[in-house]
Protein backbone atom coordinates (compact mmCIF):
# COMPACT_ATOMS: atom_id res chain seq x y z
CA UNK A 1 0.00 0.00 0.00
CA UNK A 2 2.67 2.39 1.11
CA UNK A 3 4.82 1.32 -1.81
CA UNK A 4 2.05 2.11 -4.26
CA UNK A 5 1.63 5.64 -2.94
CA UNK A 6 5.35 6.30 -3.23
CA UNK A 7 5.31 4.96 -6.76
CA UNK A 8 2.42 7.25 -7.65
CA UNK A 9 4.16 10.27 -6.16
CA UNK A 10 7.33 9.45 -8.08
CA UNK A 11 5.32 9.09 -11.23
CA UNK A 12 3.59 12.44 -10.74
CA UNK A 13 6.88 14.12 -9.93
CA UNK A 14 8.56 12.75 -13.02
CA UNK A 15 5.65 13.76 -15.22
CA UNK A 16 5.74 17.26 -13.73
CA UNK A 17 9.45 17.58 -14.52
CA UNK A 18 9.15 16.53 -18.16
CA UNK A 19 6.08 18.71 -18.78
CA UNK A 20 7.92 21.60 -17.15
CA UNK A 21 10.95 21.17 -19.39
CA UNK A 22 8.69 21.01 -22.44
CA UNK A 23 7.17 24.34 -21.39
CA UNK A 24 10.57 25.83 -20.73
CA UNK A 25 11.34 25.23 -24.38
CA UNK A 26 8.04 26.67 -25.57
CA UNK A 27 8.09 29.78 -23.39
CA UNK A 28 11.12 31.55 -24.91
CA UNK A 29 9.86 30.81 -28.40
CA UNK A 30 6.46 32.31 -27.66
CA UNK A 31 7.99 35.24 -25.85
CA UNK A 32 10.24 36.04 -28.81
CA UNK A 33 7.41 35.80 -31.29
CA UNK A 34 5.08 37.82 -29.09
CA UNK A 35 7.68 40.49 -28.34
CA UNK A 36 8.77 40.95 -31.94
CA UNK A 37 5.16 40.84 -33.05
CA UNK A 38 4.01 43.58 -30.67
CA UNK A 39 7.02 45.83 -31.21
CA UNK A 40 7.23 45.14 -34.94
CA UNK A 41 3.55 45.54 -35.79
CA UNK A 42 3.48 48.94 -34.09
CA UNK A 43 6.45 50.09 -36.15
CA UNK A 44 5.22 48.85 -39.49
CA UNK A 45 3.78 51.14 -42.10
CA UNK A 46 3.44 51.17 -45.85
CA UNK A 47 6.54 53.28 -46.45
CA UNK A 48 8.59 50.61 -44.69
CA UNK A 49 8.01 48.40 -47.73
CA UNK A 50 8.07 51.05 -50.44
CA UNK A 51 10.85 53.46 -49.44
CA UNK A 52 14.57 53.35 -49.00
CA UNK A 53 16.23 55.04 -46.01
CA UNK A 54 16.01 58.82 -45.68
CA UNK A 55 19.14 60.84 -44.85
CA UNK A 56 20.19 60.68 -41.22
CA UNK A 57 18.05 62.91 -39.07
CA UNK A 58 14.99 62.81 -41.28
CA UNK A 59 12.08 60.79 -39.97
CA UNK A 60 10.55 58.06 -42.17
CA UNK A 61 11.92 55.93 -44.97
CA UNK A 62 11.85 52.18 -45.16
CA UNK A 63 13.73 48.98 -45.85
CA UNK A 64 12.61 48.16 -49.37
CA UNK A 65 16.26 47.90 -50.40
CA UNK A 66 17.06 45.47 -47.59
CA UNK A 67 14.00 43.26 -48.17
CA UNK A 68 14.84 42.95 -51.86
CA UNK A 69 18.54 42.65 -51.00
CA UNK A 70 17.90 39.70 -48.71
CA UNK A 71 15.86 37.97 -51.38
CA UNK A 72 18.61 38.71 -53.92
CA UNK A 73 21.56 37.45 -51.87
CA UNK A 74 19.70 34.42 -50.58
CA UNK A 75 18.65 33.42 -54.11
CA UNK A 76 22.19 34.04 -55.33
CA UNK A 77 23.43 31.73 -52.59
CA UNK A 78 20.79 29.13 -53.37
CA UNK A 79 21.72 29.26 -57.05
CA UNK A 80 25.22 28.16 -56.09
CA UNK A 81 24.35 25.80 -53.23
CA UNK A 82 21.37 23.89 -54.66
CA UNK A 83 22.99 22.27 -57.72
CA UNK A 84 26.17 21.38 -55.83
CA UNK A 85 24.26 20.27 -52.75
CA UNK A 86 21.85 18.01 -54.61
CA UNK A 87 24.62 16.50 -56.70
CA UNK A 88 26.60 15.74 -53.55
CA UNK A 89 23.47 14.27 -51.97
CA UNK A 90 23.03 12.04 -55.02
CA UNK A 91 26.65 10.95 -54.78
CA UNK A 92 26.35 10.13 -51.09
CA UNK A 93 23.16 8.15 -51.52
CA UNK A 94 24.19 6.27 -54.66
CA UNK A 95 27.77 5.47 -53.67
CA UNK A 96 27.23 4.98 -49.97
CA UNK A 97 30.33 3.08 -49.05
CA UNK A 98 33.00 4.64 -51.23
CA UNK A 99 35.98 6.26 -49.53
CA UNK A 100 35.10 9.64 -50.99
CA UNK A 101 31.58 9.31 -49.57
CA UNK A 102 32.89 8.76 -46.07
CA UNK A 103 35.22 11.76 -46.35
CA UNK A 104 32.48 13.90 -47.83
CA UNK A 105 30.03 12.91 -45.13
CA UNK A 106 32.49 13.83 -42.39
CA UNK A 107 33.32 17.11 -44.10
CA UNK A 108 29.65 18.00 -44.37
CA UNK A 109 29.12 17.28 -40.68
CA UNK A 110 32.09 19.46 -39.79
CA UNK A 111 30.92 22.18 -42.18
CA UNK A 112 27.58 22.50 -40.45
CA UNK A 113 29.43 23.13 -37.22
CA UNK A 114 31.63 25.99 -38.48
CA UNK A 115 30.65 29.28 -36.80
CA UNK A 116 28.94 31.50 -39.35
CA UNK A 117 31.29 34.40 -38.62
CA UNK A 118 34.19 32.19 -39.75
CA UNK A 119 32.34 31.47 -42.97
CA UNK A 120 31.99 35.23 -43.37
CA UNK A 121 35.73 35.70 -42.96
CA UNK A 122 36.36 32.94 -45.47
CA UNK A 123 34.08 34.57 -48.06
CA UNK A 124 35.77 37.91 -47.32
CA UNK A 125 39.19 36.44 -48.12
CA UNK A 126 38.02 34.48 -51.14
CA UNK A 127 35.75 37.02 -52.82
CA UNK A 128 35.92 40.48 -51.24
CA UNK A 129 39.72 40.74 -51.18
CA UNK A 130 40.35 39.62 -54.79
CA UNK A 131 37.49 41.75 -56.16
CA UNK A 132 38.51 44.64 -53.91
CA UNK A 133 34.92 45.42 -52.95
CA UNK A 134 32.22 44.26 -50.61
CA UNK A 135 29.61 42.69 -52.80
CA UNK A 136 26.32 40.81 -52.95
CA UNK A 137 28.29 38.08 -54.67
CA UNK A 138 30.48 37.63 -51.59
CA UNK A 139 27.35 37.53 -49.43
CA UNK A 140 25.86 34.93 -51.74
CA UNK A 141 28.98 32.79 -51.49
CA UNK A 142 28.91 32.99 -47.69
CA UNK A 143 25.23 32.04 -47.57
CA UNK A 144 25.83 29.21 -50.05
CA UNK A 145 28.41 27.74 -47.69
CA UNK A 146 25.85 27.94 -44.89
CA UNK A 147 23.20 26.23 -47.02
CA UNK A 148 25.42 23.53 -48.50
CA UNK A 149 25.66 21.11 -45.57
CA UNK A 150 21.92 21.36 -44.92
CA UNK A 151 21.04 20.68 -48.55
CA UNK A 152 23.55 17.83 -48.86
CA UNK A 153 22.38 16.15 -45.66
CA UNK A 154 18.68 16.41 -46.40
CA UNK A 155 18.97 15.33 -50.02
CA UNK A 156 21.12 12.36 -49.03
CA UNK A 157 18.54 11.29 -46.47
CA UNK A 158 15.67 11.80 -48.89
CA UNK A 159 17.31 9.88 -51.73
CA UNK A 160 18.27 7.07 -49.36
CA UNK A 161 14.55 6.61 -48.69
CA UNK A 162 14.00 5.60 -52.32
CA UNK A 163 13.78 1.82 -52.10
CA UNK A 164 16.47 -0.20 -53.88
CA UNK A 165 13.90 -2.11 -55.87
CA UNK A 166 13.07 1.10 -57.72
CA UNK A 167 16.70 1.38 -58.84
CA UNK A 168 16.68 -2.29 -59.82
CA UNK A 169 13.51 -1.82 -61.84
CA UNK A 170 15.26 0.94 -63.75
CA UNK A 171 18.41 -1.12 -64.28
CA UNK A 172 16.33 -4.06 -65.51
CA UNK A 173 14.85 -1.79 -68.18
CA UNK A 174 18.34 -1.30 -69.58
CA UNK A 175 18.61 2.29 -68.40
CA UNK A 176 21.98 3.82 -67.61
CA UNK A 177 22.45 4.72 -63.97
CA UNK A 178 22.48 8.49 -64.53
CA UNK A 179 19.12 8.37 -66.29
CA UNK A 180 17.66 6.37 -63.42
CA UNK A 181 18.97 8.96 -60.97
CA UNK A 182 17.74 11.98 -62.88
CA UNK A 183 14.50 10.88 -64.44
CA UNK A 184 13.19 8.39 -61.92
CA UNK A 185 14.73 8.94 -58.50
CA UNK A 186 15.12 12.73 -58.47
CA UNK A 187 11.87 13.25 -60.33
CA UNK A 188 10.01 11.23 -57.75
CA UNK A 189 11.58 13.14 -54.88
CA UNK A 190 11.07 16.71 -56.09
CA UNK A 191 8.69 17.83 -53.35
CA UNK A 192 10.88 16.29 -50.65
CA UNK A 193 14.00 17.89 -52.05
CA UNK A 194 12.19 21.22 -52.25
CA UNK A 195 11.39 20.94 -48.55
CA UNK A 196 15.07 20.53 -47.77
CA UNK A 197 16.05 23.43 -50.01
CA UNK A 198 13.51 25.79 -48.48
CA UNK A 199 14.59 24.88 -44.97
CA UNK A 200 18.18 25.61 -45.95
CA UNK A 201 17.17 28.91 -47.52
CA UNK A 202 15.20 29.96 -44.46
CA UNK A 203 18.21 29.17 -42.29
CA UNK A 204 20.48 31.28 -44.50
CA UNK A 205 18.00 34.15 -44.75
CA UNK A 206 18.32 34.85 -41.04
CA UNK A 207 22.12 34.86 -40.92
CA UNK A 208 23.80 38.14 -40.02
CA UNK A 209 27.42 37.32 -39.25
CA UNK A 210 28.47 36.02 -42.68
CA UNK A 211 27.01 39.11 -44.35
CA UNK A 212 28.63 41.73 -42.12
CA UNK A 213 31.82 41.95 -44.11
CA UNK A 214 30.69 40.40 -47.38
CA UNK A 215 27.44 41.93 -48.61
CA UNK A 216 28.18 44.66 -46.06
CA UNK A 217 25.02 46.72 -46.60
CA UNK A 218 24.17 50.12 -48.02
CA UNK A 219 21.43 52.70 -47.93
CA UNK A 220 20.13 52.60 -51.47
CA UNK A 221 18.70 50.24 -54.08
CA UNK A 222 21.26 48.06 -55.77
CA UNK A 223 20.94 45.07 -58.05
CA UNK A 224 24.57 44.83 -59.07
CA UNK A 225 26.09 41.75 -57.54
CA UNK A 226 29.55 43.28 -57.58
CA UNK A 227 28.51 46.07 -55.24
CA UNK A 228 27.60 46.07 -51.57
CA UNK A 229 23.99 45.17 -50.93
CA UNK A 230 21.71 45.77 -47.97
CA UNK A 231 20.12 42.75 -46.32
CA UNK A 232 17.50 42.59 -43.60
CA UNK A 233 19.66 41.05 -40.85
CA UNK A 234 22.52 43.50 -41.35
CA UNK A 235 20.14 46.43 -41.71
CA UNK A 236 18.42 45.43 -38.48
CA UNK A 237 21.79 45.18 -36.77
CA UNK A 238 22.88 48.63 -38.02
CA UNK A 239 19.59 50.28 -37.08
CA UNK A 240 19.23 48.57 -33.74
CA UNK A 241 22.58 49.80 -32.43
CA UNK A 242 22.03 53.32 -33.80
CA UNK A 243 21.14 56.17 -31.44
CA UNK A 244 18.12 57.26 -33.49
CA UNK A 245 14.65 56.41 -32.20
CA UNK A 246 13.18 56.17 -35.69
CA UNK A 247 15.87 53.73 -36.84
CA UNK A 248 15.32 51.59 -33.74
CA UNK A 249 11.63 51.53 -34.60
CA UNK A 250 12.43 50.37 -38.10
CA UNK A 251 14.78 47.69 -36.74
CA UNK A 252 11.80 46.19 -34.92
CA UNK A 253 9.73 46.28 -38.07
CA UNK A 254 12.59 44.65 -39.97
CA UNK A 255 12.93 41.92 -37.35
CA UNK A 256 9.21 41.27 -37.59
CA UNK A 257 9.28 40.98 -41.39
CA UNK A 258 12.34 38.73 -41.32
CA UNK A 259 10.69 36.47 -38.76
CA UNK A 260 7.45 36.29 -40.72
CA UNK A 261 9.38 35.47 -43.91
CA UNK A 262 11.32 32.66 -42.26
CA UNK A 263 8.31 31.25 -40.41
CA UNK A 264 6.28 31.30 -43.61
CA UNK A 265 8.99 29.41 -45.50
CA UNK A 266 9.26 26.85 -42.71
CA UNK A 267 5.54 26.30 -42.50
CA UNK A 268 5.25 26.03 -46.27
CA UNK A 269 8.08 23.51 -46.44
CA UNK A 270 6.99 21.41 -43.49
CA UNK A 271 3.24 21.30 -43.97
CA UNK A 272 2.24 22.26 -47.50
CA UNK A 273 4.97 20.36 -49.35
CA UNK A 274 4.72 17.27 -47.19
CA UNK A 275 0.99 17.13 -47.93
CA UNK A 276 1.76 17.01 -51.65
CA UNK A 277 4.39 14.35 -51.02
CA UNK A 278 1.87 12.06 -49.35
CA UNK A 279 -0.10 11.81 -52.55
CA UNK A 280 2.80 11.49 -54.94
CA UNK A 281 6.33 10.23 -54.84
CA UNK A 282 8.16 7.84 -52.58
Amino acid sequence: MNYRIIRKIKNALFKFVIVLSAFMVLIPLFLIIQFVFVQGMGSLNLSFFTEIPKPVGEIGGGMKHAILGTIYTVLLGALMAVPIGITCGVYLSEFRKSKLSKTLRLTVDLMSGIPSIVIGIFAYLMVVVPLKSFSALAGGVALAIIMLPIIIKTSEEILKLVPDHIREAGLALGLPRWKIIFFIILKGSVSNLLTGIILAISRAAGETAPLLFTAFGNMYMNFNMKEPMATLPVQIYTYAISPFKDWQRQAWAGAFILMVLILAMNIFARYVLTKIKDKKGF
Binding site: K97, E168, A172, L173, G174, L175, I184, G188
Partner: protein, 259 residues
Amino acid sequence: MSKSEHSEKIILEAKNVEAWFGDFQAVKGINVQYSERTINAIIGPSGCGKSTYLRCLNRIHEEIEGTKVHGEVLLEGKNIYDKKIDVVEVRKRIGMVFQKPNPFPSMSILDNVVIGLRLQGITKRSTLMEVAESCLRKAALWEEVKDKLNSLGTSLSGGQQQRLCIARALAINPPVLLMDEPTSALDPIATAKIEELMNEIKLDYTVIIVTHNMQQAARISDYTSFFVYGKMIEHGLSSDIFTNPKEKQTEDYISGRFG
Protein backbone atom coordinates in the same frame (compact mmCIF):
# COMPACT_ATOMS: atom_id res chain seq x y z
CA MET B 1 0.49 -29.47 -75.14
CA SER B 2 2.81 -31.21 -77.53
CA LYS B 3 6.41 -30.41 -76.77
CA SER B 4 7.60 -31.07 -80.30
CA GLU B 5 6.22 -27.75 -81.51
CA HIS B 6 8.97 -25.83 -79.73
CA SER B 7 11.64 -24.62 -82.02
CA GLU B 8 14.91 -26.07 -80.91
CA LYS B 9 16.69 -22.77 -81.32
CA ILE B 10 18.65 -22.03 -78.17
CA ILE B 11 18.26 -18.39 -77.17
CA LEU B 12 19.94 -18.32 -73.79
CA GLU B 13 22.56 -20.60 -72.34
CA ALA B 14 24.20 -20.66 -68.92
CA LYS B 15 27.70 -22.12 -68.84
CA ASN B 16 29.11 -22.96 -65.46
CA VAL B 17 27.49 -19.94 -63.81
CA GLU B 18 28.63 -19.31 -60.25
CA ALA B 19 27.70 -16.41 -57.98
CA TRP B 20 28.92 -15.13 -54.63
CA PHE B 21 27.77 -12.79 -51.89
CA GLY B 22 31.11 -11.89 -50.31
CA ASP B 23 32.60 -15.28 -49.41
CA PHE B 24 29.33 -17.16 -49.59
CA GLN B 25 28.81 -19.04 -52.83
CA ALA B 26 25.09 -18.93 -53.60
CA VAL B 27 25.13 -20.43 -57.09
CA LYS B 28 27.37 -23.35 -58.03
CA GLY B 29 28.21 -24.31 -61.57
CA ILE B 30 24.89 -24.06 -63.40
CA ASN B 31 24.75 -25.34 -66.98
CA VAL B 32 21.48 -25.11 -68.84
CA GLN B 33 20.07 -24.16 -72.25
CA TYR B 34 16.82 -22.33 -72.85
CA SER B 35 14.93 -22.76 -76.11
CA GLU B 36 13.17 -19.91 -77.83
CA ARG B 37 9.52 -19.29 -76.94
CA THR B 38 9.32 -21.55 -73.95
CA ILE B 39 8.45 -21.05 -70.31
CA ASN B 40 11.17 -22.32 -68.03
CA ALA B 41 10.49 -22.67 -64.33
CA ILE B 42 13.10 -22.77 -61.60
CA ILE B 43 11.92 -24.40 -58.38
CA GLY B 44 13.62 -25.25 -55.12
CA PRO B 45 13.55 -24.58 -51.39
CA SER B 46 14.09 -21.07 -49.99
CA GLY B 47 17.66 -19.88 -50.07
CA CYS B 48 18.71 -22.35 -52.75
CA GLY B 49 20.13 -19.62 -54.95
CA LYS B 50 17.45 -19.67 -57.62
CA SER B 51 16.72 -15.93 -57.44
CA THR B 52 20.43 -15.15 -57.37
CA TYR B 53 20.96 -17.36 -60.41
CA LEU B 54 18.12 -15.57 -62.22
CA ARG B 55 19.69 -12.23 -61.37
CA CYS B 56 22.93 -13.42 -62.97
CA LEU B 57 21.14 -13.87 -66.26
CA ASN B 58 20.63 -10.12 -66.77
CA ARG B 59 23.63 -8.97 -64.73
CA ILE B 60 21.56 -7.41 -61.96
CA HIS B 61 23.31 -9.53 -59.32
CA GLU B 62 26.53 -7.57 -59.73
CA GLU B 63 24.74 -4.34 -58.72
CA ILE B 64 24.81 -5.46 -55.09
CA GLU B 65 28.04 -4.50 -53.37
CA GLY B 66 30.44 -7.32 -52.57
CA THR B 67 29.04 -9.80 -55.09
CA LYS B 68 30.70 -11.52 -57.99
CA VAL B 69 29.77 -13.83 -60.83
CA HIS B 70 31.84 -16.40 -62.72
CA GLY B 71 31.01 -18.34 -65.85
CA GLU B 72 29.31 -17.39 -69.08
CA VAL B 73 25.77 -16.54 -70.07
CA LEU B 74 25.27 -16.73 -73.83
CA LEU B 75 22.46 -14.69 -75.33
CA GLU B 76 22.06 -15.84 -78.91
CA GLY B 77 25.58 -17.20 -78.74
CA LYS B 78 27.23 -14.07 -77.31
CA ASN B 79 28.57 -14.03 -73.78
CA ILE B 80 26.85 -11.20 -71.89
CA TYR B 81 29.72 -11.16 -69.38
CA ASP B 82 32.20 -10.40 -72.17
CA LYS B 83 34.20 -7.27 -71.28
CA LYS B 84 33.33 -5.73 -74.64
CA ILE B 85 29.58 -6.03 -74.04
CA ASP B 86 27.70 -3.04 -72.63
CA VAL B 87 25.69 -4.15 -69.62
CA VAL B 88 22.95 -1.63 -70.43
CA GLU B 89 22.45 -3.27 -73.84
CA VAL B 90 22.23 -6.69 -72.19
CA ARG B 91 19.43 -5.58 -69.92
CA LYS B 92 17.50 -4.09 -72.82
CA ARG B 93 17.39 -7.57 -74.32
CA ILE B 94 16.71 -9.49 -71.11
CA GLY B 95 13.81 -7.96 -69.22
CA MET B 96 12.91 -8.61 -65.62
CA VAL B 97 9.82 -8.67 -63.42
CA PHE B 98 10.42 -8.65 -59.68
CA GLN B 99 8.85 -10.37 -56.73
CA LYS B 100 7.25 -7.23 -55.35
CA PRO B 101 5.35 -5.09 -57.84
CA ASN B 102 7.53 -1.99 -58.22
CA PRO B 103 5.95 0.57 -60.53
CA PHE B 104 7.72 3.93 -60.44
CA PRO B 105 5.81 5.83 -57.75
CA SER B 106 5.77 9.31 -59.23
CA MET B 107 4.61 8.21 -62.68
CA SER B 108 1.30 7.62 -64.35
CA ILE B 109 0.30 4.23 -65.69
CA LEU B 110 1.18 5.35 -69.21
CA ASP B 111 4.54 6.80 -68.18
CA ASN B 112 5.40 3.62 -66.32
CA VAL B 113 4.93 1.55 -69.47
CA VAL B 114 6.78 3.83 -71.87
CA ILE B 115 9.52 5.17 -69.58
CA GLY B 116 12.03 2.62 -70.88
CA LEU B 117 11.49 3.69 -74.48
CA ARG B 118 11.23 7.37 -73.67
CA LEU B 119 14.54 7.40 -71.83
CA GLN B 120 16.06 5.61 -74.78
CA GLY B 121 15.14 8.64 -76.86
CA ILE B 122 11.86 7.57 -78.45
CA THR B 123 9.53 10.49 -77.87
CA LYS B 124 7.03 10.29 -80.70
CA ARG B 125 3.69 10.23 -78.95
CA SER B 126 1.89 8.02 -81.43
CA THR B 127 4.62 5.36 -81.27
CA LEU B 128 4.63 5.43 -77.48
CA MET B 129 0.82 5.16 -77.35
CA GLU B 130 0.90 2.23 -79.72
CA VAL B 131 3.52 0.40 -77.67
CA ALA B 132 1.68 1.20 -74.45
CA GLU B 133 -1.57 -0.21 -75.74
CA SER B 134 -0.07 -3.36 -77.20
CA CYS B 135 2.00 -4.06 -74.07
CA LEU B 136 -0.88 -3.37 -71.71
CA ARG B 137 -2.98 -5.74 -73.82
CA LYS B 138 -0.29 -8.42 -73.65
CA ALA B 139 -0.18 -7.91 -69.90
CA ALA B 140 -4.00 -8.27 -69.79
CA LEU B 141 -4.34 -4.88 -68.19
CA TRP B 142 -5.58 -2.69 -71.04
CA GLU B 143 -9.29 -3.12 -70.43
CA GLU B 144 -8.89 -2.18 -66.78
CA VAL B 145 -6.78 0.93 -67.25
CA LYS B 146 -7.58 2.32 -70.68
CA ASP B 147 -9.75 5.08 -69.19
CA LYS B 148 -7.26 6.13 -66.54
CA LEU B 149 -3.87 5.98 -68.20
CA ASN B 150 -2.91 9.21 -66.48
CA SER B 151 -3.56 8.10 -62.92
CA LEU B 152 -0.61 7.06 -60.82
CA GLY B 153 0.74 3.56 -61.34
CA THR B 154 0.77 3.08 -57.59
CA SER B 155 -2.98 3.71 -57.41
CA LEU B 156 -3.62 0.27 -58.90
CA SER B 157 -4.15 -2.91 -56.89
CA GLY B 158 -1.19 -5.21 -56.24
CA GLY B 159 -2.11 -7.62 -59.01
CA GLN B 160 -2.67 -4.79 -61.47
CA GLN B 161 0.63 -3.22 -60.46
CA GLN B 162 2.42 -6.47 -61.20
CA ARG B 163 0.79 -6.66 -64.63
CA LEU B 164 1.82 -3.04 -65.15
CA CYS B 165 5.40 -4.07 -64.37
CA ILE B 166 5.10 -6.87 -66.91
CA ALA B 167 3.86 -4.39 -69.50
CA ARG B 168 6.76 -2.09 -68.61
CA ALA B 169 9.24 -4.92 -69.12
CA LEU B 170 7.63 -5.93 -72.42
CA ALA B 171 7.68 -2.38 -73.76
CA ILE B 172 11.37 -2.50 -74.60
CA ASN B 173 10.66 -5.77 -76.38
CA PRO B 174 13.26 -8.08 -74.87
CA PRO B 175 13.44 -11.56 -76.39
CA VAL B 176 13.95 -13.00 -72.90
CA LEU B 177 11.88 -12.16 -69.84
CA LEU B 178 13.02 -13.11 -66.35
CA MET B 179 10.39 -13.35 -63.62
CA ASP B 180 11.42 -13.58 -59.99
CA GLU B 181 8.46 -15.07 -58.10
CA PRO B 182 6.11 -12.64 -59.82
CA THR B 183 2.99 -13.93 -58.09
CA SER B 184 4.23 -14.62 -54.57
CA ALA B 185 2.82 -11.32 -53.31
CA LEU B 186 -0.52 -11.76 -55.06
CA ASP B 187 -3.83 -13.45 -54.30
CA PRO B 188 -5.01 -16.52 -56.29
CA ILE B 189 -7.20 -14.52 -58.70
CA ALA B 190 -4.41 -12.10 -59.57
CA THR B 191 -2.06 -15.06 -59.86
CA ALA B 192 -4.39 -16.82 -62.27
CA LYS B 193 -4.49 -13.70 -64.46
CA ILE B 194 -0.72 -13.55 -64.63
CA GLU B 195 -0.41 -17.24 -65.42
CA GLU B 196 -2.93 -16.78 -68.18
CA LEU B 197 -1.04 -13.89 -69.73
CA MET B 198 2.21 -15.82 -69.53
CA ASN B 199 0.76 -18.37 -71.89
CA GLU B 200 0.09 -15.51 -74.30
CA ILE B 201 3.47 -13.82 -74.08
CA LYS B 202 5.19 -17.16 -74.53
CA LEU B 203 4.22 -16.92 -78.21
CA ASP B 204 6.70 -14.07 -78.62
CA TYR B 205 9.10 -14.31 -75.69
CA THR B 206 11.19 -16.76 -73.77
CA VAL B 207 10.28 -16.70 -70.10
CA ILE B 208 12.40 -17.89 -67.20
CA ILE B 209 10.43 -17.86 -63.97
CA VAL B 210 11.49 -18.54 -60.42
CA THR B 211 8.59 -19.81 -58.36
CA HIS B 212 7.93 -21.19 -54.91
CA ASN B 213 4.70 -22.66 -56.12
CA MET B 214 5.19 -26.10 -57.63
CA GLN B 215 1.66 -26.28 -58.96
CA GLN B 216 2.37 -23.05 -60.79
CA ALA B 217 5.53 -24.48 -62.31
CA ALA B 218 3.67 -27.62 -63.37
CA ARG B 219 0.77 -25.61 -64.83
CA ILE B 220 2.63 -23.10 -66.91
CA SER B 221 6.14 -24.25 -67.71
CA ASP B 222 7.53 -26.33 -70.54
CA TYR B 223 10.80 -27.01 -68.76
CA THR B 224 11.67 -27.05 -65.09
CA SER B 225 14.96 -26.87 -63.21
CA PHE B 226 15.23 -27.99 -59.61
CA PHE B 227 17.78 -26.19 -57.42
CA VAL B 228 19.11 -27.13 -53.99
CA TYR B 229 21.91 -25.30 -52.16
CA GLY B 230 23.01 -23.43 -55.26
CA LYS B 231 23.25 -26.56 -57.40
CA MET B 232 20.94 -27.63 -60.17
CA ILE B 233 19.82 -31.13 -59.29
CA GLU B 234 17.70 -31.76 -62.33
CA HIS B 235 16.53 -30.05 -65.49
CA GLY B 236 14.08 -31.34 -68.02
CA LEU B 237 10.60 -31.26 -69.49
CA SER B 238 8.17 -30.20 -66.78
CA SER B 239 5.94 -33.13 -67.63
CA ASP B 240 8.82 -35.46 -66.80
CA ILE B 241 10.05 -33.63 -63.73
CA PHE B 242 6.64 -33.58 -62.11
CA THR B 243 5.54 -37.10 -63.01
CA ASN B 244 8.69 -39.06 -63.28
CA PRO B 245 11.73 -37.29 -61.78
CA LYS B 246 15.06 -38.98 -62.23
CA GLU B 247 16.59 -37.79 -58.98
CA LYS B 248 15.50 -38.89 -55.56
CA GLN B 249 15.91 -35.36 -54.15
CA THR B 250 13.56 -33.95 -56.80
CA GLU B 251 10.98 -36.57 -56.04
CA ASP B 252 11.20 -35.86 -52.32
CA TYR B 253 10.79 -32.14 -52.93
CA ILE B 254 7.84 -32.27 -55.29
CA SER B 255 6.07 -34.82 -53.16
CA GLY B 256 6.50 -32.54 -50.17
CA ARG B 257 8.85 -34.69 -48.15
CA PHE B 258 11.63 -32.10 -48.24
CA GLY B 259 12.08 -28.38 -48.45
